[in-house]
Amino acid sequence: MKFITRLWGSSLGKKYLMALSGIALWFFVIGHLLGNLQVFLGPDKINTYAAFLKSQPGLLWGARLGLLAMVALHVSSAISLTNLNRNARPQPYGHPRAPFGSSYASRTMMMSGLIVAAFIIYHLLHYTVQTPAVNLTGVDFSEYQEAVGTTTRHDVYRMIIIGFRHPLVSLFYIVAVGLLSLHLSHGLSSMFQSLGITRWSKTGRDCLARTAGLITFVGYASIPVAVLLGLGKEVVK
């Protein structure tokens, strides 16, 4: 019992939960990116991939519920730790200097995290739930079907292309993945620190985290940018 109270009840324990749920979410970010990048391989590849995921409801819902649990853990420990941190300094300094030696990303983790969370809700409504009201095109994405032999499957390729052709939608997406990579550039490095992994130097860990953040940004942002520059215009009119 003391294990649980010490894990959730201590500042260090909550940082472990923060780091462990962060790793799980990071793995999803990478997996999702690899899946998405198939859009560059043409309609057939990504639609086959999407149909494959849909054909495995057990795995799909297992992963979704697992991710939801990780998000819940990550957010609840963040809120709890932020409260602890705010209460620890009730009176701020009079001098306006930012905390000496701290990076911008490290000071804005809560804000970047909250904006990314808001984006994720929008993103789920946009492409997963496919609520027509939020995609700004007035079309119901679930109506996009592609005929394969005697059956039909969801035309995910068409949904992505049409979805990102709207500049506002693409802009929000690019800003959000930008903030996600800022969040990762600090979060990934801190994860090693929180879990007590000192295998690599602090500079090395920071460098690794920044590179990973940058790759995430370039990878994700490349899709809306490519669509705005004309990706898929031969296939999707």
């Binding site: 019992m1 003391k2 294990f3 010490r6 894990l7 009840g9 201590s10 500042s11 260090l12 324990g13 909550k14 940082k15 472990y16 730790l81 602890l84 941190n85 209460n87 620890a88 300094r89 009730p90 009176q91 701020p92 300094y93 009079g94 001098h95 306006p96 200097r97 905390p99 000496f100 030696g101 701290s102 990076s103 490290s106 000071r107 983790m109 600090h186 490095s189 801190s190 090693f192 620190q193 929180s194 879990l195 007590g196 992994i197 000192t198 602090k202």
Partner: protein, 259 residues
Amino acid sequence: MKVRLKVWRQSNPGTPGAFEEHETPDINPNMSFLEMLDVVNEDLASKGQEPIAFDHDCREGICGTCSLVIDGKPHGPHQGVATCQTYMRSFSDGDMITVEPFRAAPFPIIRDLVVDRKAFDRIMQAGGFISVRTGNAPDANAIPVPKIAADLAMDAAQCIGCGACVAACKNASAMLFVSAKVSHLGLLPQGQPERQRRVLAMVEAMDKEGFGACTVTGSCEAVCPKEISLDFISRMNRDYGRSLLQGEPGRKAGASDEA
């Protein structure tokens, strides 16, 4: 040279404080920051005003008593230097210098720039010690200590417990202090018997005092007058995690927690 001070004045813990501006009398650029405050206080006393209360003791950077947040940075503009060894030549004639007390809920203000740092003592009492057999002095070097462990332990032992890490951290976290003490004792053979109990007890005491958590901003390391490394926090995190998983040594698995 002369400088202008924007200094926090607060007559006691209960009454709200405010900034007050003072111009210093003519000062020697080679005075330390604390000597400058001495001169200002003599001037204030001669005018019949209340002198500015501030903490100081050894004035040679080893006791950890002096504090002050100078222009938003604990211990002033330099790296690896305490307030007592910050000299007025680091400022320019006519500068406006903001001087504030360390700000953290567990460090309540006693008066002006003096804060109560007994929270650190309570953390030390919880586990910052080793148990030794008293009696005749043991043979020197009877216990072999690996060179790497000795060096690292000495780096951690540099901590003078001034609290600048707490003052600088945006979360008012005491992790750098606690991790230095945990690592200092935990690295040496003499500290092994109580290693697991120590880290659990000291972290618990730290949380009880109301210090914030670490968000790895690195501010503490950047302002530490003894340049204690952030790596010690990582080491403490690992020790705590291991102790959490192992439980206290010598206890039977599943034995009641209260035993």
